[in-house]
């Protein structure tokens, strides 16, 4: 069969070509808070969630039970998390514009997906992020300024992953899904009842490593949750360039449940992730969660989304903003007063200031840091090269002009 005949047999049909202005309507999702901030009634949940889950996922009204214990104070806490995460993110974008960071990958719009899922984790769970999980890092207690070192170029990670059970950011897309699965296999072998969660995006869903992670997790029944933030865009490529089926449905082919949740609904993300983590802890194996959300900003500060998507689309998603949605809910339920928002504003500004000052004060590493930690047990060649480099640097030390050393870098 020639390539031509194959092409003739399968004419290309662009089913996704007819997009209404302002983007496509949302598909069915597990949702507990509407974009207007109203709690979703069980009957509506039942209707909406019929086509948002595969075999093995609970009936949608059961998800509400996973957040039945959430108090007004908890809701205010989730709101605070999202606001402070967005403030941190905005500051980091500004710091990049000021030349303090080389690059920044903004999470703008994905706060609910990250805070909801991040707050579902327990201290002894282990998190494997991609590189945009600033909100999850916040939930894990990682100091936000630690996240900035790699974007400033003073290190390639720089935090202790074991301090908060929050692994380093992984830039090569999808690789961490396998690390999470292996770690979860180890958790099961240890007989521990903790769980592991792997974050990745719609683009990563095309990576072989993600497919292999699904296979390994399934056959070893590993206690891992695959949390896919489908933010609709992999740099310039829409999700229909990655898949022809809804992403959560991929789970079915591997033999574990998949659920699509409203990724801009912090309560629904919390509920669905709690359910999935509890399944993992009970030894019921992996789950795929597709959090349907939107990357409101550029891919990174180096990207220009105006080249590939219409501003109407972003505007449509702004109406579903995760923070505005929870605020509307808090206000309509009288869970807050003006003092709460004012205090949070002050706290938010203080965080921005602290991050700004920390980044500006972040020193360049010592030159010899190049050679540090290349190996755990040392390596003869690295030792030799370090000594040569040090001697070369020292050869400038006679000069009273220290800029000579600087210039030799």
């Amino acid at each position: 069969m020639t390539v031509d005949s194959t092409a003739a047999r399968k004419p290309r049909k662009r089913t996704g070509a007819k997009k209404p202005p302002g983007g496509k309507p949302d598909p069915d999702l597990v949702q507990l808070l509407t974009p207007e901030g109203r709690r979703v009634t069980p009957s509506r949940t039942a209707r909406s969630a019929r086509t948002s889950r595969t075999e093995g996922a609970p009936a949608p009204q059961e998800f509400a039970e996973y957040v039945a214990d959430i108090t007004a104070e908890d809701l205010r806490g989730l709101y605070r998390d999202m606001v402070l995460t967005r403030r941190f993110d905005t500051e980091a974008t500004a710091l990049q514009r000021q030349g303090e960071l080389g690059l920044w990958a903004s999470l703008l719009g994905q706060e609910a997906a990250q805070i909801g899922s991040g707050r579902a984790t327990r201290d002894d769970d282990y998190v494997f992020p991609t590189y945009r999980e600033h909100g999850v890092a916040w939930c894990r207690g990682v100091d936000p300024t630690n996240l900035l070192g790699m974007f400033r170029g003073v290190n390639n990670g720089g935090w202790d992953p074991t301090a908060n059970n929050f692994h380093l950011y992984t830039i090569v897309i999808g690789s961490q899904a396998l690390h999470a699965t292996g770690y979860a296999m180890g958790v099961a072998m240890d007989g521990a009842d903790s769980a592991v969660i792997a974050y990745f995006g719609d683009g990563a869903s095309s990576q072989g490593d993600v497919a292999e992670a699904f296979t390994f997790a399934a056959v070893y029944n590993a206690p891992v949750v695959f949390f896919c933030q489908n933010n609709q865009w992999a740099i310039s490529e829409p999700t229909d360039r990655q898949t022809r089926v809804p992403l959560y449905q991929r789970a079915q082919g591997y033999g574990f449940p998949g659920v699509r949740v409203d990724g801009n609904d912090v309560l629904a993300c919390l509920a669905v992730t709690r359910w999935a983590l509890e399944r993992a802890r009970r030894g019921e194996g992996p789950t795929l969660i597709e959090a349907f959300t939107y990357r409101m900003g550029a891919h990174t500060t180096s990207d220009d989304p105006t080249r590939y998507r219409a501003s109407e689309e972003r505007e449509a998603w702004e109406a579903k903003d995760p923070i505005a949605r929870l605020r509307a809910h808090l206000e309509s339920e009288h869970h807050t007063d003006e003092g709460f928002f004012a205090e949070l504003e002050t706290e938010s500004e203080a965080l921005g200031r602290r991050v700004r000052e920390a980044v500006r004060a972040m020193p360049d590493p010592e030159h010899l840091a190049i050679f540090e930690h290349a190996y755990a047990d040392g390596h003869a060649l690295v030792d030799e090269e370090r000594a040569q480099f040090a001697a070369y640097q020292a050869s400038f030390s006679d000069s009273t002009d220290t800029t000579a050393t600087e210039g030799s870098r």
């Binding site: 992953p161 292996g182 180890g186 930690h373 390596h379």
Partner: protein, 326 residues
């Protein structure tokens, strides 16, 4: 058992058994390593004795094997991974180069990756395509990895012990055509350092440096040369990252001539690095340029041609003659 004469594959088996016995965190992973005992039987009987959680038959996915091994290492395990054949490692190359090699440095030393990746490598067994390659330079070139290759049963046993104890990832190249060669293994010996080269035959006129399967070829070449009255020294490099240049240097300072031999293509191979370093260190001792004998810059040929492609005794001695002609 102390001293026993064992085939190289069996020495590896005994070494893996010892590691499984002494360290509960050691796990073996790979395709067919469990019930079957590996296609070369290196893991024979280990799953039966240590269980399916310690000797893990994996899905047929090399990136998945190495990627999950990384996760297990982060959890505190010491995975020993088998890649079934040299030519099958490339689906895992990204995980090895991008993740395994760099993670310790990215974490500023806060995590360790004690993963051993066993790769049966090299030709000479009449195999089909992708079963006879020598990709060691592709790994030695990557900072963060250590690369070793034993040439005999004793080294196979002890270097595997040391590789598993290493807190750095080690790519362990096993010379598959030597799997059946027997030699004495003293399991109570005190081994030398993992990354030290060793003079395995002393000689005066030319140094031959080799590793893995080519050490035997060089020893045979030295024996043949001796009959013609030419005394050759043979250095077993044993480790390709790091390379023990000092041992080679001391040899070349006495002989004045060096021929580096490997199955891998000569172009940008380990021999190129040895030649460059030894030329720099021994410039005034050298009586001839450092010569290299190895594979050609071609895909590994079909089995009926591999005898032409692989360096044999005659090609090694031809290089010796050329070195002596200067």
């Amino acid at each position: 058992m102390a001293v026993q004469k064992l085939p190289l594959a069996r020495a590896l088996n005994e070494s893996l058994r010892r590691a499984l016995e002494t360290d509960p965190k050691v796990v073996l992973m790979g395709e067919d390593v469990g019930k079957l005992g590996g296609v070369f039987r290196v893991t024979d009987g280990l799953q039966k004795d240590f269980g399916e959680d310690r000797v893990i038959d994996t899905p047929l996915a090399e990136s998945g094997i190495v990627g999950t091994a990384i996760g297990l290492a982060l959890r505190g395990y010491r995975p020993v991974v088998e890649i079934q054949f040299d030519g099958f490692v490339f689906p895992a190359y990204d995980q090895i180069v991008t993740q395994l090699a760099k993670m310790h440095a990215r974490a500023l030393g806060k995590v360790k990756l004690p993963v051993v990746i066993r790769i049966p490598y090299g030709g000479g067994i009449g195999a089909v395509e992708h079963h006879s390659e020598s990709p060691e330079a592709l790994f030695a070139h990557v900072a963060g990895l250590k690369v070793v290759s034993p040439s005999n049963s004793s080294d196979a046993y002890w270097m595997m012990q040391q590789a598993i104890q290493s807190d750095d990832p080690v790519i362990f190249f096993e010379p598959k055509r030597r799997y059946w060669d027997k030699a004495e293994v003293d399991t109570e010996a005190i081994p030398g350092p993992l990354h030290a080269a060793r003079v395995v035959r002393e000689g005066a006129r030319v140094t031959l440096a080799a590793y893995g399967p080519m050490v035997k070829v060089c020893l045979e070449a030295a024996a043949a040369a001796e009959e013609e009255g030419i005394s050759l020294e043979v250095v077993d490099l044993r480790s390709l990252s790091p390379i023990d240049f000092g041992t080679v240097q001391r040899s070349v300072e006495r002989t004045g001539r060096l021929v580096v031999v490997h199955e891998a293509p000569v172009f940008l191979g380990a021999g190129a690095e040895v030649a460059a370093r030894i030329t720099e260190r021994c410039f005034y001792h050298l009586e001839a340029p450092v010569l290299r004998v190895g594979g050609y810059h071609t895909p590994y040929p079909p089995a009926r041609l591999e005898e032409e492609y692989l360096p044999g005794l005659d090609r090694v001695l031809d290089a010796v003659d050329r070195a002596l002609a200067y």
